[in-house]
Symmetry: C2
Subunit: 429 residues, 2 copies
């Protein structure tokens, strides 16, 4: 059984014009950089690439975009790459944007021989167009299909000659599922060892899935009051991350980061920086004692199964009935929905943390959302710079106002129906 290749160019020898390729990694964490460089060098074109992100302009998949070798991208979030955004807006590039959890799980299903499955992510949004809707236990789900590819190209930490793989920290992300789903799977590893050197209990991808393996070179490393003790909390990117600064010292919260971690700790000191350990915002972070790493399919599994006690998200608009829009401004901003649709479709308890108005001073609390929806009727509470409001069947119910902010000001800046009952107290700080 010989699966070992000596170089990236040899390992990708039969990737052809028009091939469909899955590429592992989240942001720049755990990307198969040697293989991508080989694809650039080989100059094959019209590729369909399945990858959560598209790298940045001068690294990762960005390199293949620059050389126009990619015909179509299937991704969840492409916000970090200007050339990508340009090609998409100009129509030079076909793009399928898929909710991050659906993307991870559709790949995992291909790996498991399951042709189709049901998820609530994207129900009621443009993602649902043309898809079968079905009700289970009173909730609406979309039928999604498994996602297949001619090649899966991924990077692991260690591998043996048979193809067994072990990953480090948050580098599992999409790579473990892709490695299991590819018709032909090519793995580049930092360290290639002999069979038996890896502990069989700790293997993340078993040899049966991996067809070719090589040792890569030159790895470039890049670098509240609602919270109750024992809660598992997912904090969105942006304003929500600030919430963690206000956790009382006697409350223990386990933060989940949807790229594959529980127990997210503070930003690292200079000497702790580790490119293999990032959060969903692609910032390097640390892990606290008792934390755990896992892959994206599992991460969205725990989100979808309702294990997260509280989700705090940013938003561009929230409607009276709890609809949320936070992923797209048509014709202007096309970063992708990332994991937001999966989160809002699944979470039992969603708080939106946002400014009360947009930069133009217009209300973000509306009778109906004007932007494409991320989810329907899912927001339970809104915390803004001006107030805290519950989303009720009758409209936005004002609970507390920020210090020095009058009820009148909140009324003025709330376009959706506002319910004010009795005296509204000032927020305590």
């Amino acid at each position: 059984m010989s699966k070992v290749y000596s170089t990236a160019i040899d390992a990708i020898h039969d990737v052809r014009d028009g091939s469909t390729i899955m590429l592992g990694g989240f942001g720049l964490c755990g990307i198969p950089e040697n293989s991508i460089n080989a694809l650039v060098k080989k100059g094959i074109r019209n590729l369909t690439c399945i990858s959560n992100n598209a790298g940045v302009d001068d690294f990762g998949l960005g390199l293949l975009l620059k050389t126009r070798q990619i015909k179509k991208m299937i991704s969840s979030y492409v916000g970090e790459n200007q050339e990508f955004e340009r090609q998409l807006l100009s129509g030079e590039l076909e793009v399928d944007l898929i909710p991050q959890g659906t993307l991870a799980t559709a790949i995992q299903m291909a790996a498991m021989g399951i042709p189709a499955f049901y998820t609530a992510a994207g129900y009621g949004t443009e993602v649902a167009e043309g898809k079968e809707v079905r009700e289970f236990n009173g909730k609406k789900y979309l039928m999604e299909h498994a996602l297949y590819a001619d090649f899966a190209i991924i990077k692991a930490w260690k591998g043996d000659r048979y193809g067994n793989l072990i990953f480090k920290k948050t580098t599992k992300n999409f790579s473990t599922s892709m490695a299991k789903a590819g018709r032909v799977t090519i793995a580049e590893v930092e360290e290639l060892v002999e069979p038996g050197e890896l502990d069989a209990d700790q293997i993340h991808v078993a040899s049966i899935y991996v067809h070719r393996i090589f040792q890569g070179i030159d790895y470039e490393k890049r670098i509240a009051q609602e919270l109750k003790d024992g809660m598992y909390v997912n904090l969105g990117i942006g304003i929500p991350t600030l919430v963690s600064n206000y956790i009382p010292p006697d409350v223990f919260i386990m933060l989940q980061s949807e790229n594959g971690m529980l127990g997210m700790g503070p930003y690292p000191l200079q000497e702790e920086l580790d490119a293999d350990l990032i959060n969903a915002g692609k910032e390097t972070v640390t892990i606290l004692p008792g934390g755990a790493f896992f892959d994206s399919a599992e991460s969205f599994g725990m989100i979808r199964a309702g294990k997260i006690d509280l989700t705090v998200l940013g938003a561009m608009e929230v409607s009276e009935r709890g609809d949320i829009a936070n992923w797209k401004i048509p014709g202007k901003m096309v970063k992708g929905m990332g994991g937001a649709m999966d989160l809002v479709a699944a979470a039992r308890n969603i708080i939106v943390a946002m400014m009360h108005t947009n930069p133009k001073g217009e209300s973000k609390l509306l009778p109906q959302c004007t932007l494409p929806l991320t989810g329907v009727g899912c927001v339970k509470k809104i915390v803004t710079d001006l107030a805290v409001l519950d989303v009720t069947n009758e409209g936005f119910k004002l609970l507390v106002r920020a210090p020095g902010v009058s009820v009148e000001e909140i009324k003025d800046k709330t376009l959706g129906k506002l319910i004010v009952q009795g005296e509204v107290r000032e927020m305590e700080i």
Copy 2:
């Protein structure tokens, strides 16, 4: 965050009459024995138990069967327990038998918030009755639903106070998926450690899934020519296991055991015996260098996704068109289908290894199967004590006869249509 309980009785305090419970383990490997003993002691009744097996008469779930505390079992294989078989045949016990892969994955889907999925296992058999059949890419699949439970009770090797778990060898089996699927998950561990003592890269079940944990006590440990180099092969129980004795020394085969192992080695020497390392036949085995352990959901994922190059199964009957029956004799034998339906529904290359006739001397190669089917039109080749035959559109095609066996004898003992073309050579040994 306190999840630690001091005893099994405390940890199961709110399991009530009529509760639905998932119990981890495969055979007697990795079963939550302390918790089962506590359930027996507590005397609660009318339980619905989801467990691949039902223990043996005096250990594991067999104890709860003996005391008649179980109203219903949801299992794939119950062959080791005579009291179970008696209660089933007498109608005292309700039993749902589910293909092993469907069982594992239905639990995994509950853990992932996916209400329904499609699998080919059981299509065309009695398992398909009343289920939606749907075609994807020209193949027929059954819609199966996620399987939920009030409690998941499992055993792990090590756990920390937050509930992070690590498993040993083939003890992952159903336990990792169940741990993630339970509405309330109770874990008993051999060793309870402090958060941070487990390596976050090696955690098999993250803390978010586990609600209660306690350290258990008194753990009782129980103890070819078709094969080409580099093949991944699943060998069924019985005659097929003998195949491994005939692998030529220059051919490297990786044996898969569907309870969660690649790289299965020979039976252990006395001093190598390890109750945590068993094969699908519940025999203790060894692992070869380069092997890997994983859970049942993953094991059947790789089977279903067609990663296995060759599957060798025993059979009670095979029909001309390749139907196979090997799991049930109505009213007489109700061991369950185990993983057989999943294997035959998925494998690209299935060889049946069996005696040509049954103990009564009747042909097992028939125009049509008379016993309940395991799978439809899936067998490609049959190796018996008398001959090797291909299954073709026209019938059984005789390829080779065993030494000293005449074509006439094979004709006499083959009830289905037999095709004999030209001289039929004798098998070389």
